[in-house]
Symmetry: C2
Subunit: 388 residues, 2 copies
Amino acid sequence: MNHKAFATANAILFALALSCGAAAAQTAAPTEDFKPSSLNQPGQQYPQVNSQGYARFRIEAPKAQNVSVSLGLGGSGGTALTKAADGAWMGTTAGPLDEGFHYYHLSVDGGTFNDPGAQNFYGSIRWESGIEIPAHDQDFYALKDVPHGRVQQILFASPSTKMPRRAFVYTPPGYDQNQKTRYPVLYLQHGWGEDETAWSTQGHANLIMDNLIAEGKAKPFIIVMTYGMTNDVKFGKLFSFDIKPFQTVLVNELIPYVDANFRTLADQPHRAMAGLSMGGMETKTITTANLDTFSRIALLSGGTFSLEDVTPDFKAKVKLVFVSFGSRELKDGKVGFPGGPRMDPKANDEALKKAGINSVFYVSPNTAHEFLSWRRSLHELAPVLFKD
Amino acid sequence: MNHKAFATANAILFALALSCGAAAAQTAAPTEDFKPSSLNQPGQQYPQVNSQGYARFRIEAPKAQNVSVSLGLGGSGGTALTKAADGAWMGTTAGPLDEGFHYYHLSVDGGTFNDPGAQNFYGSIRWESGIEIPAHDQDFYALKDVPHGRVQQILFASPSTKMPRRAFVYTPPGYDQNQKTRYPVLYLQHGWGEDETAWSTQGHANLIMDNLIAEGKAKPFIIVMTYGMTNDVKFGKLFSFDIKPFQTVLVNELIPYVDANFRTLADQPHRAMAGLSMGGMETKTITTANLDTFSRIALLSGGTFSLEDVTPDFKAKVKLVFVSFGSRELKDGKVGFPGGPRMDPKANDEALKKAGINSVFYVSPNTAHEFLSWRRSLHELAPVLFKD
C-alpha cells in the first residue's frame, strides 16, 4: 500500500473510532411518545423510538442474568436493560441518538445475539440488528408514489475467483420502456464489514434515485453494487488489504458483463465509481490506477484527494471528484488518525478547484460514520455526477 | 370460506402438524465429519452438519442458565445444549435431519433468539435461523457456471392497499438479449409465515430455472413472487383468512403492472399460478375464481383438486393441474386434518386424468412440509408447466 492509500486508511480508522452513533448523553426524562421503529420485523412493538431520538428496547429472556444493547461500531452507545415487572428486560438510551440508521446487537448473559424484534442488516461481518431514528429530511429517501426503478440481482462469471459472483443493479424508471436509451453507470461500494446488499437496503440508493429522477433533479443512470471483498481483512489491519483481487473482479469481469448485458454508455466519460469508508479507499485506489476506465470519483467518509493526487493524467481524465464526511467525523474541520497525519478535506477541495479540478465537497450535518451521512452524500452526488 | 377451501386449509394444518424437520431419532454416535453449514454467516464455523445429516450447534453465552435449539415449525426437533469446557453451549441433534432446508431458532434463558452463526430467513412471521442438510440431489439447485437469469425487485402501485408494494421477478437468461421474445409468466406464492423473499432465497427458484434451461429441460418463463398477505392471520385461524384483498392486489394491480413492464405473453394460456402450503390455498381459490386469467395451477403441499372442482368452465379453460406433497406429509397415501376429512391426492389425480384433465401428481421422497419438497416440486413443475 502506498502512502496515499495509507493516509486514506488512517482517515477511515479515525472516522470509525468516532462512530458511536449516540449523541451527547442527556439527563432529562425522554418524552413518552415512543413508537415502533420503522425497521422492526412485522408486528413487533419493540424497539421503539421517540420524537427526540431516544431508543427503547424490550427483550424477553425471563431467566437471563443480564441483557444489554450495544449501539454502533464502537459499542459506546451501550444501554443496560433492567427486568420489568412482567419479566421482560427493558431500557432506554441515556440520550437521543443521531438521526438515521444504526446497527446494534444485544449481549445476553455474555453471548452476542440480535434483537428478535428488529430486522437484520449486514454490517461488521455479521447480520446485525438495525434501528432507524427518523431524520428531519427523511423525505428524500422515502418510498413514494413515483415511478420506481428496479434493483436486480445478477450472477456474473468470475474466472479470477473461480465462482459466479453476485451484484445488484439499479436500473432507473423507464429503463425497459426506452429501449434505445443508453445510460451512464455508477459502481457503488459498501464499507468494511458490509456487503453488496448495503446500499439498496440500509442505503435506500434506489429510492434516493427514484425520488431525484421524479423531481427532475438527477438524470437517470445505472448503479452497480457488488461485494468489495473487504471483509477478509481483520478490522484494524486494513493496511494489509490487497486491492488486486477486487480490482480484477471489478474492472476485468463485472464491468464487461454489465456493458454486455445492460444498455450502458460503455466508455470512460460515462463511468463513475464511489464508495463509503473502506469502499472509498477501494474507489480511490482503483480509479486512479484505471483512469481510462473511470472519469468520476466519489469518496464518502473514505479519505480525500489532495494536490499530490493531481498528476497530468489525472487532470486530463477526471471529470469530477466528490468528497464527503459526516460532520461528527471532522474535528476542527480535519480528519485523521490520532497521532497520524491530519487531512483538511475542505482545504483540499479548494486547492483542487484552484488546480482546475471539478471538485465537490459535502458535509452531512450532525451525523457520524453512519448511513445517513452516506444516503445524504448520494443525494448530493447524483445530481452532479454526470453533469459535465 | 367454502367447504373446498376449508378442506384445503385442513390439509395444510395437518401437513404443518407433521413438520418436525427431524427424521427418526437414532442412538448410534454420529460420524465425526462435521462441516460448517452452507448457510452460515461468513466465516462462522457453527452450526455444522455431518455426512449423515446430524446438526451440531455451538452458542457462546457463558453466563446463560440454559440454551436449546428448536428445529422446525413444531419444535419437536428440539436439542438441549450443554456447557462445554470452553464455556460455550454445544449439542448435536439426536438423529439425522431430513435433507434440505430447515428453519430453527434458539431459546436462551427463556428468550427466543437466532443463532448468530447462521443466516436468517423469513418464516413463521419472523426472521429465523436456517440450516441446510446437503441433499443427495442438490445439484439441481446448485449455483453453476451456466447462463443466469436475474431476480429483480419491483415496486408496483397498489391503490387498493394505498401503498407501493414489492415483488421479485425472475427473468430467464437471454431476456435482455432477445428483445423480441415474449415469455409466459408463473405467479409463485410462499407459505404462511413467509414472504416474497422465500422462493428466491431458501427456495432457489432462480437457480432451479437457470439449470433446467441450461440443460434444455424447461422453456424459459418469467416468475413473479409477491407477498401473499397471509400473515395477518394467526396460525391456527386460517379459516378466517379473507382472500379478497390479496386477489385484488394480484389480479387487478400486479398482473397489469407485469404485463405492462415485462415482455410477457399477456393472455390466459400463458399465465400460471402456483403456491406452497397456504400459498397453495390462495392459488386454488384465486385461479378457480379467475379462469379467464390463469390456465395452469399448481398446489405444492397446499391441498388437492378433486372431481368436484371440475366444472365445465374449469374443464374448458384449465390446461394443467399440478399437485405435490413431501412423502412425510402423507399417511397411507392420504393427507388430512386429524378427525377431519382425508384426501387421497393420488386417487384425485387419477380421477382428474380420467375426466380429461391434464393432471400431474408428484411426491418428494423422504421430505416433510419443508423447502426441499418445494424446490423439487418446482423442478418437476417447470418442464411441464407451459408444455401443452
